[in-house]
Symmetry: C2
Subunit: 107 residues, 2 copies
DNA sequence: GTCTACATGTAGGCTCTCTATATGTAGCCA
DNA sequence: TGGCTACATATAGAGAGCCTACATGTAGAC
């Protein structure tokens, strides 16, 4: 997967994966790998800064927890984040429609 | 259309649009706008450098022409570019499949 | 005692797209 | 004559975000 292709879609992926259950960074990476059937293996250097950015933007909220002696920062979707995710899904649909039409014109 | 979303897909768009007929930069911008139903309005500052990059990469070849007193640099797809475009189309299909699966898991 | 899995984080680089600007021709209109 | 719009190409610099590489630490297995 070409890294640049993810540009501008990472937010939607991250928000989507914590939609129904709060997860910490490491678990988010694993969830992305699982949901994508192994195609998405996003490095920590991408995910952690992105999560902080999304929290700053108000789309995520986090709190620390200690599980099995290890510290985790668990992120959950805020109301604002839920709205953002809905918007991202709509944008994704129109995005694929537009690009798809250009790549394979039904002429 | 969020500019970042185009990242990594611009090449495919540009190659696709000159697949069946050579076009010059200005015409390429118009073709993208038409094919996308007006959704894609790519600025010249994006297209011209991108075309040169694709030519340097060997995917496009260009030659100058003068039409109606105006100079045009017309780009055509090379054999290498044709192969690249095919690869980009395959990549696009798997890309949309992967992201789509993460955004809307059929769980 | 070492290795792997778990877990978070930052610094710096890289690349691409965008905005803004520059340059010039052709044609229309007042 | 002057101004406006469409046509046509090009570059400089900014901005953003994803990546590589590195740093740090715990827990458990062998």
């Amino acid at each position: 997967m070409n890294p640049d292709a993810l540009r501008g879609h990472m937010d939607a992926l991250l928000l989507s994966v914590v939609e129904h259950e709060p997860l910490h960074g490491y678990a988010i990476i694993e969830a992305l790998r699982e949901r994508s059937g192994g195609a998405l293996d996003v490095p920590t250097g991408t995910v952690y800064p992105a999560l902080r950015r999304l929290e700053r933007a108000g789309f995520l909220a986090s709190e620390w927890a200690t599980v099995g002696g290890r510290k985790r920062r668990t992120y959950r979707l805020t109301e604002s984040g839920r709205a953002e995710l809905a918007g991202e899904r709509t944008a994704w649909t129109s995005f694929t429609s537009v690009i798809g039409r250009v790549l394979d014109p039904q002429t």
